[in-house]
């Protein structure tokens, strides 16, 4: 069997995705633990003191909000041209996860901005374009779930998602094109990275951690969105859901302990991020489980 059938055929995807989610969760656990241990002992920053440690949540989340959009836009273009069912499902899954990640990036940014800038929110180009990114996700979700007939809704949503790709470079370059309160790019600046190595290494590790967590969330959401006819095979998803929930709760407990001596703003950020992810994973897996138990009631997911 060729590898691409694992992803492109819904029935194969279901068997393959549960395993993939479990591996990603293991990776997330290891990376997140190593990041938590290092940020507990890292020295303070020369201008921001301890509050800069929010960077280890805010920056990965902000990067992932763009990556989720890239995935959604590319899958949408594949769906628009070739009408591959799985492309639409993965695009929709990354939209649901993407809006959560974007909101988390905005919230952690606000919690970081208050003690450093002196305001929760400013309408500068970076913050506004990130806000537009969130609205693009929401318009994709609302178009895809309300328009009738269903094929038309999926196609229109795919077109919107692809056109919205233009916002991704705007978010990235907004700090160079306009005067903004948001500082310039630290990681991808023209003159090399602007972060000391001792602070950069945990940032790369935490990016891996959050990327893996996002992958777990996208896979679970895709399993929920699969056409119900393909859900009669082994219910791998609920098991993978339990792994993910136990892993997240473990991270929450260990993180709360390890960050106990950190700045309050850092602790609040960690709690907000972890609880949002726990709640999201829990809800998605409850929905998957209720679909499995009542397969007669799941006709509303069938294409009309």
């Amino acid at each position: 069997m060729q590898w691409h059938k694992h992803i492109l055929v819904p029935a194969h995807f279901q068997q393959f995705a549960g395993k993939l989610a479990n591996i990603a969760m293991m990776l997330a656990l290891l990376a997140m633990l190593s990041m938590l241990q290092s940020i507990a002992v890292l020295p303070d920053d020369h201008q921001q003191g301890q509050v800069y440690k929010i960077i280890y949540m805010h920056v990965p989340l902000a990067i992932l909000s763009l990556c989720c959009y890239l995935l959604m836009g590319l899958c949408s273009s594949v769906y628009w041209i070739w009408q591959v069912k799985m492309a639409d499902i993965i695009a929709a899954a990354s939209a649901y996860v993407g809006v959560v990640i974007t909101v988390l990036a905005i919230i952690t940014g606000a919690i970081w901005a208050k003690p450093t800038w002196g305001a929760w929110w400013v309408w500068d180009a970076r913050l506004t374009s990130e806000c537009i990114l969130m609205l693009l996700y929401l318009s994709y979700i609302s178009l895809r779930s309300t328009l009738k007939p269903r094929r038309y809704a999926q196609n229109m949503a795919a077109l919107i998602a692809f056109l919205g790709l233009i916002d991704v470079p705007i978010v990235h370059y907004s700090v160079e094109w306009w005067y903004t309160l948001h500082q310039g790019s630290s990681l991808l600046s023209y003159t090399g990275t602007k972060i000391a190595w001792i602070m950069l290494a945990p940032l790369l590790v935490s990016s891996v951690a959050f990327a893996s967590l996002t992958a777990v969330m996208v896979i679970h959401t895709a399993l929920l969105l699969l056409p119900s006819a393909d859900k009669r095979i082994a219910p791998l998803a609920p098991i993978s859901g339990i792994y993910a929930l136990v892993g997240l709760l473990l991270l929450w407990a260990l993180g709360t302990g390890l960050l106990a001596s950190c700045d309050h703003y850092v602790q609040v950020c960690y709690q907000v991020v972890l609880w949002t992810m726990i709640l999201y994973t829990y809800c998605i897996n409850r929905l998957i489980r209720s679909q499995h138990s009542g397969s007669e009631n799941s006709h509303e997911l069938e294409p009309v």
């Binding site: 020295p43 041209i81 800038w117 002196g118 306009w178 005067y179 630290s186 602007k194």
Partner: protein
């Protein structure tokens, strides 16, 4: 690729091309207006700006220019590119990262060549390094 798929690709590329064009026009059109602040040299070149409408001034706090008289705080805001300065007057609470020699944003209006600020925000740069180095 079948004919219908080819047509769908054409629609996609054509609409994306229009989108890129619109965005380029938008970015150039908004060059000045989408910025979060104006600089002291912009205020010097445009004497009619910020007189009756509120605006945001972004500049460096000139070292050794900060004076506190009662509840009133005055300092010189300097454009670090060409050393144009403007006096800023402010009453209120400062963010903890506000320091001489650092960047700040002041929100307010201009009167008789002095900038009266109602809010001050601190701007920090993108460099991170441990305190001891």
């Amino acid at each position: 690729m079948s004919l219908s798929q080819y047509k769908r690709l054409q629609v996609l590329l054509a609409s994306f091309g229009l989108m890129v064009l619109a965005t380029v026009l938008l970015v150039y059109g908004l060059k000045q207006h989408a910025s979060a602040f104006v600089t002291p040299s912009y205020l010097a070149e445009h004497p009619q700006s910020c007189l009756h409408s509120r605006c945001r001034l972004g500049a460096m706090v000139q070292p050794n220019s900060l004076r506190i008289q009662g509840s009133e705080l005055t300092f010189k805001a300097v454009d670090h590119e060409n050393n144009t300065t403007i006096d800023v007057v402010f009453t209120g609470v400062l963010p903890s990262m506000f320091k001489e020699g650092k960047l700040m944003l002041a929100e307010g209006h201009r009167q008789n060549g002095v900038f009266f600020a109602t809010t001050i925000l601190a701007k920090h740069d993108e460099n991170y390094k441990p305190k001891s180095i």
